[in-house]
Symmetry: C2
Subunit: 186 residues, 2 copies
DNA sequence: ACCTGAACACCGTTCAAGT
DNA sequence: ACCTGAACACCGTTCAAGT
């Protein structure tokens, strides 16, 4: 086990351990010392790979945005509107699958400057969604892109807090209605 | 100064101080000891009014949801669809006015059980929105209510993280489009 | 690259005591 | 009742000295 840490695997082991703790106890309860303990190293070993706690969280949140973009990119559907709706559903499913990481992605604890990788990866997610919206409406439409992202994000975040029913059918219907009304507006 | 604390004002003074610190440094950086210092009392005086840190944050987040519901309720507009759009705009404006409190409302640090007042106040916000949607579509439509809340919440949360343009016109257009397509669907 | 171990200035929370 | 200082077990972070 610990032999691998001597071969450059500690960085990844820390990310895995942190992600597990994140899902178990939430972002606020995530301590660097816990992560180190969980990975079986001393409390200051993480500083060999991350400048500080924020840098570790930045890496995890950036991973989250990349995974989100991948999920959205690999969605299937015949019509552009179907694909856009499926993207929204994938977004909500991703939040549901890893609520701790999702919370971290949209609530970085600290100054925005401390999360550069997250910001860059989030722009990537925006680009994926913007391309899908463009396929539906045939042009760049920042309002439609913002609305599409807002709808998916809102459904995901509100469901996470049990403020709307945790109902897959509701999400399916909501994203379909949106995508169709967008397609009908052209 | 400290004389007023002896007359039952400390609870409110703590809430005011905490809200200020929340807006200045964000929820993650809010320490109970800082709040006490800021209010001019000893570090454990807050325990006379709040069971723990979560209980203080619960009170602030619940205030936030009540203020949000009030903002939405007092919105003007001739047509039901105009009022619904204005509610969405009021939601985004409220998040913009107090981003620290908004972040706290949707990222309570700890178990959901620790935030009962917040949960109750949030249900109230849902009811205000549901009534407005009912006026537009003429019936209970959980998908429409969830979509309306999700759109407003998503726009607010994404703008807060600079993931969509911080543009008032964009919010106005997005909420109007949504409200009109909802009215047109009946 | 990692470890031990100490140290610093913080936390949230509890306790015993003061008015 | 309300407030206080001392105390406990934690943190994040840094340092010194080792393998």
């Amino acid at each position: 086990m610990s032999a691998t840490y001597h071969h450059g695997d500690l960085r990844n082991a820390l990310l895995v351990a942190a992600t597990e703790l994140l899902e178990a106890h939430g972002p606020a309860a995530l301590s660097l010392r816990d992560v180190a303990r969980s990975a079986g190293v001393s409390h200051n070993a993480p500083y060999r790979h991350f400048a500080n706690r924020d840098a570790l969280l930045d890496a995890i949140a950036a991973d989250g945005f990349r995974a989100l973009a991948d999920d959205m990119r690999t969605v299937k559907g015949r019509q552009p509107a179907d694909r856009l709706a499926a993207m929204g559903q994938a977004y909500v499913a991703a939040a549901r699958a890893r609520p701790g990481r999702f919370a971290l992605m949209f609530a970085p604890p600290g100054a925005p400057d401390a999360f550069p990788a997250t910001a860059a990866a989030a722009q990537h997610t925006y680009a994926v969604l913007a391309a899908a919206v463009r396929e539906v409406v045939g042009r760049d439409d920042p309002v439609a892109v913002a609305s599409a992202w807002a709808l998916a994000h809102g459904l995901a975040d509100l469901a996470r807090h049990a403020l709307i029913p945790a109902d897959v059918a509701l999400v399916t219907t909501a994203t379909r209605r949106f995508a169709r009304s967008l397609a009908a507006s052209v």
